[in-house]
Amino acid sequence: MTSNQIMFLLFSVVIVVFSILTVTSRKILRAAIYLLFVLVSTSGLYFMLNYHFLAAVQLTLYAGGIVVLIIFSILLTSHISQKAEPVGWKKSLFSALAAIAGAVLSITTILDFNFSATKVAAEEVNMRLIGKSLLSTGSNGYVLPFEVISILLIAAMVAAIVIAKKGGPDKTESQILKQ
């Protein structure tokens, strides 16, 4: 067993165990921390695949940004030691059956399909290549999705501010005080 395989085994065990804990843990804050572990191990997988830029993006954006946002909203909306009510066994059983059936179906399909390995030499992914591809209009250019995603990001930012703004237009101060 090479060190590569040991690392992959470690990352996959962490991912599987902590993703199951994320969806079953009854303490919400703990579930968020488990999600953080899953995201960090995924970034480790990207490092193993030699995509350093995406691994860094995964660490900063997912592990640094989204998890912190989720933790903040948990602290704003629920008590720290609050426990979620246990899921009814019927709902839990049928959901697990559906998930396991889907997983078995997908895994048998994956194992049946014969992926032909390529002998093409791997291209080195450096920052210069990524920047050129993001802003080029040629056959390997991604300038259109890049611009669309920038519009999406600014729209999402404005929408988040407008939605979370305190009070509605038809709400007077006395109504707010009454609540």
Partner: protein, 105 residues
């Protein structure tokens, strides 16, 4: 680099993660935990894209850029979803999906 690890191991790992997310999406009642399940699902799709890119088309970068855009969409989705959740909490003082059952106050 990735010698000794066949492609299907990555795909199986991503499948398990995806269906764990589906299970959480079906059983959870708290809006924030549902959002966390959606993040799990998006993340597993990213693993698939990266593995396909590295194993089948290592001379191109399409999978990497797809993952990059998926991460950006996931970030904006999380921001808007959390704004909506905080607004719901202000109206109903709960974020349990079974208690939030009216659109207009």
């Amino acid at each position: 680099m990735n010698a000794g690890i066949p492609l299907y191991l990555f795909l199986i790992l991503a499948t398990i993660m995806f269906f764990t997310g589906i299970y959480g999406f079906l059983t959870r009642r708290n809006l924030i935990t549902i959002l966390m399940s959606v993040e799990l699902i998006l993340n597993s799709v990213n693993i698939n894209f990266m593995a396909f890119n590295r194993y089948l088309f290592p001379d191109r970068l399409e999978g990497m850029f797809f993952s990059l855009f998926i991460i950006a969409v996931a970030a904006s989705e999380a921001a808007v979803a959390i704004a909506i959740i905080i607004n719901i909490y202000r109206r109903f003082t709960t974020i349990n999906v079974e208690d939030v059952n009216e659109m207009k106050y």
